[in-house]
Structures are given as C-alpha cells and as structure tokens.
C-alpha cells in the first residue's frame, strides 16, 4: 500500500508552530513530491519560507539545500520503504527546520498516486490561509519577475499600500512607488483570495476598497493605478467583485498573460 508523509516547516524548534508545506507519496518504484516552493521544473523559490519564518532570519541557500534533499529522496523510491523512512524519522530529532510528523498509508491504486499527492497537498497544505496568501503573493512575484521587475520583489511583498509620509501632501497618504531602471512607476496592489472563507474574503475586500477609496478621493492614485490581484473563484462573491471593479483594475493571477501585459503597460506608460 502506498505510503505518505506530510512535510512540515518550523523556523524555530521552540517558538514556531510547524506549518504543513509538502506531501510525499511513494509506492514501489514511484515517488511523488509536492512541496511549497518547488516548481514543476524542479527549481526552488525560497521566498515563501522566508515569510513562514515570521521574522526569524533564515538563509535561502540552506532552504535550497533542503529542497534538493527532498528531491533526492524521491529519486530512489524503493529506498523510501526502509532507509528513506529512517531519514525522514530523523528529521524530527535534527531540530528542524523540516520534519515529517504525520505519516501513514493510503488505500489507492498505483495509477492514482499523482492525483493523490495533489489532493493531499490541497487539503493539508493549501487549506492554510497564510500559505494560500503567500502562494498568491508568490505567483504575482513570478509574473513581475517575468517582466524583469524582479528587483521589486521585496517591495511587492509589502504591497498592501504602504502608508508613507510624503512631504507636501501631508502624512498618512497612500503612496506606493516602484522604481525600475530609473523609471518611476506608481501603482497600488491589493491581494484578494476568493477561495478563503467568507469572513476572510470580506475582510480583504473591505481593506482594498477602503484603501482605494481614500487614494481616489485624495487624487493620489487614479483608478488605473489601483490594482487588485485576485485568485480563486470569484463567482460566489460576485457583488464584492463588482465593487472592486468599480474602484480598481482587477486581475486574475491565473491569467498570467493578462496580468503580465497589464504590468507591462503600466511600466511602458511610466517610462521616461
């Protein structure tokens, strides 16, 4: 029967709670790993873990090594039944940052392993609202990186419309500047995940609308400079989606081409 492990991340062995970040499923000569930050091409994006560390300083290179370690583990599936299992058991004793606390066997067919790992990942990892939000941020970052705005990555993480005092315009004004090769691009981004529970969605929408209302009223931003990057199914919240559209450009992060072309336009418009 196929075995599985939940991979957990904890930036501190005492203070931090472990967060489910991945799933490993194996049987016979097959093993499937689905883990936050590991892309389909096996490349690794450590940003998500830096945020899960919640203020703890963590080294990207070491996270990179852990990513390679888990991937190497799956390259030899037959080993996972014995030695590999012991390697995973030892993680808990090693003081982190990764561990595999939950494990067991799954009653499924061999052909379904790839589907099972997706399903487990959805239920065990993506059900966490913090993780979902980080995923949304990271998908936006990937799009921005594609259009060579990579240097702005850190800024975008905090793109909840920073309140930055600006001389001559008073304090507490909404102002989110992007700087790119000497060009100054102004836009404000809010993230809304429609797959969260209703309370969380309402909170995100009201925050975005409040911020944009203030920015529009004070003529700090135009509607074209107010951007909502959304994920998930908005159909259950159609009224909220309409309200957002009345004040901002709403982009679906799943529409990579559309999102990318929007930001390219913003950049072009602001080019010197």
């Amino acid at each position: 029967m196929p075995g599985y492990r939940l991979i957990q991340f904890s930036a501190h062995p005492v203070y931090a709670s472990p967060v489910n970040v991945g799933v490993l499923v194996w049987s016979g000569h097959e093993a499937y790993l689905k883990m936050l930050g590991i892309e389909d091409d096996a490349s690794f994006r450590p940003h998500l873990y830096l945020h899960l560390a919640m203020g703890q300083q963590v080294a990207e290179e070491v996270l990179q090594e852990w990513s390679a370690w888990f991937q190497a583990l799956t390259e030899d599936p037959r080993r996972l039944d014995e030695e590999g299992r012991r390697d995973l058991d030892r993680l808990a004793e090693s003081g982190g940052p990764f561990s595999c606390a939950n494990h067991g066997q799954i009653d499924c067919e061999q052909d379904d392993l790839s589907l099972v790992v997706e399903d487990l990942f959805q239920k065990c990892v993506l059900n966490n609202s913090t993780v979902r939000r980080l995923m949304l941020q990271d998908r936006l970052l990937q799009i921005l990186e594609e259009i060579e705005l990579a240097g702005l990555a850190d800024t975008v993480i905090d793109a909840e419309l920073e309140l930055v005092p600006k001389k001559g315009l008073g304090t507490g004004l909404l102002y989110f500047p992007w700087f790119y090769r000497g060009d100054k691009v102004k836009a404000a981004i809010k993230l809304v995940d429609f797959d969260q529970d209703a309370v969380m969605v309402v909170q995100q929408v009201s925050e975005a609308m409040g911020a944009f209302d203030m920015a529009l009223e004070r003529k700090i931003l135009t509607r074209e400079e107010c951007v909502v990057v959304a994920s998930g199914d908005a159909s259950q919240f159609s009224q909220y989606a309409k309200w957002l559209q009345s004040r901002a450009i709403v982009l679906d992060v799943a529409d990579r081409i559309g999102t990318r072309s929007f930001f390219l336009q913003v950049l072009t418009k602001n080019a010197l």
Binding site: V58, V62, D87
Partner: protein
C-alpha cells in the same frame, strides 16, 4: 568550485572555508571594547556516554582534535558539563536559523565530485580512527553555488568504541585491519587524493598525537594509561595506513 590562489609562483588549491554553525539567539552586547561582540546561543547536539558508547565523549573530543590537526572537515564541538558530568556538544552546521540536512545516500556521488579532497580526507581519517559509523553523518551543500560546506560529525563509535571492550578496540587499531567494511565514499574517491591525506597522516608526530589523545589525567571512564595506549596505537596505525589502504585498494578507491 574552490577558489584557487597563487603562492610562490604556484597555483594552490584553496582550502575550504570553515563551516558556519547555527546561531539560535543573539543576546545583549558584551559591553564596551575595541571589538563589537555580543552574547549568543548556538544550536548543538549533546553527546553522552552510554552503555553502547561508554567512551563516546572521549572519542568525540579526540576525533575532533585529530581532525583539526589533520585539516579534515569535521564539524566543531565543545566539551560542556551537565548533571551527568562532561558531555560533548556537537555544533549544528548551517546558516542563520537553519541546519543543513544530512547527506542522503543518493547524493553521495554528487558530494564526492563536488568535494573530492574533503571526501578523500574523510576516508583516510575514518580508516585511521576506525570510524565504523560514518553512514550519513555528514552535512554537505550540493545545490547552492554560493554555499560551500562539507562537515562530518558523530565520531562516538570510533577509537575506543570500535568494539564493546575498549581493550579490544585498541587491539584492532593496532592490527592491520581496515576496520571498516563500509564507508559512504568507498569507491567514490580518487587514489591521488586519498594518498595526499594518507601522507599527511603519516607525518603526524608522536607529540601531536599525544596532544590529541592524552589529557594528563583520567577523563570520565578513560584512564590515563588507556589514553597513552590509544596514542601509541594511533601512531602505529598512522605509519602503516598507506599499506592498509593499499591492501584494500579495490574497495576504497574509485576505479580509474
């Protein structure tokens, strides 16, 4: 790739950067002074003497000292005191806040090709001290170009811990046995690289070995006489290490 450098008109292979260890907390500054310094806590794993390794703490500290003298990439550690007396605190290799994973068996060829000198030095060192428990007790960075780390740890089952009885362990160290039936880098290291390490070991003086093994009085359960006996056994083994390895060349070294 290591950064080679010039000295006396020759290209020298750069030694490894010393590994870094995981800082858990940085505390208050130590006070005024010419240097900026703070108290901190480091992550470490405490090793105690136990039924299975009655001389484990002694073995750890001796192996560390020998490794440092020979420039073998062993992870640092320190002696400390607990309720049980002296223990060995093996420092956790890693970068800020995070430890590195132990190397997996499937990663060993990549580790050996990334760190050929270090892997060879470790083979020679483990044969010298009779470390029959290397297994995956090793940290190595293999996928981050900017992070070069290779550090071996856990030497409790070596030296006086090869057999249950320390006297038998000493007898085996004095024999011509390879002692190891398995090592993660057997078959993955080049003859030339192992020979360099073996030559370095052969040059160890009696005084150097005694400084590593003998503490002037009994250390936990290890009497002074036994410490001297170990130093003597290691000296003999160092001088015949080349012959021991040559007798097991097919097992130890990579085929050309």
């Amino acid at each position: 790739m290591p950064n080679n450098y010039f000295r006396d008109g020759e290209v020298k292979v750069s030694p490894m950067q010393p590994p870094t260890y995981v800082v858990r907390r940085i505390l208050r500054k130590t006070g005024s002074g010419a240097t900026v310094s703070s108290y901190c806590t480091l992550d470490a794993i405490l090793k105690f003497d136990c039924e299975e390794t009655p001389c484990g703490v002694y073995n750890e500290i001796v192996a560390l000292k020998l490794g440092q003298v020979l420039n073998v990439p062993v992870a640092s550690g320190v002696l400390t005191n607990t309720m049980d007396g002296q223990t060995f605190a093996s420092l956790q290799v890693g970068s800020p806040g995070l430890t590195l994973p132990d190397v997996l068996e499937s990663q060993l060829p990549l580790v050996a090709s990334t760190y050929p000198r270090e892997a060879a030095a470790l083979v020679a060192f483990d044969v010298l001290i009779g470390n029959i428990d290397r297994n995956n007790n090793l940290k190595a960075a293999v996928s981050s170009p900017h992070l070069r780390t290779f550090a071996a740890f856990d030497h409790g089952v070596s030296l006086l811990g090869i057999e249950d009885d320390p006297e038998q362990s000493l007898a085996r160290l004095e024999s011509d046995d390879l002692l190891l039936t398995f090592h993660p880098f057997f078959g993955l290291v080049a003859k030339v690289a192992v020979d360099v390490s073996v030559q370095r070991i052969a040059k160890l003086t009696k005084d150097q070995i005694e400084e590593c093994c003998v503490f002037g009085k009994a250390f936990r359960g290890v009497s002074l006489a036994r410490q001297l006996h170990l130093a003597s056994a290691l000296q003999k083994r160092a001088s015949k290490l080349s012959a021991i390895l040559a007798a097991h060349e097919n097992l130890v070294r990579a085929q050309a």
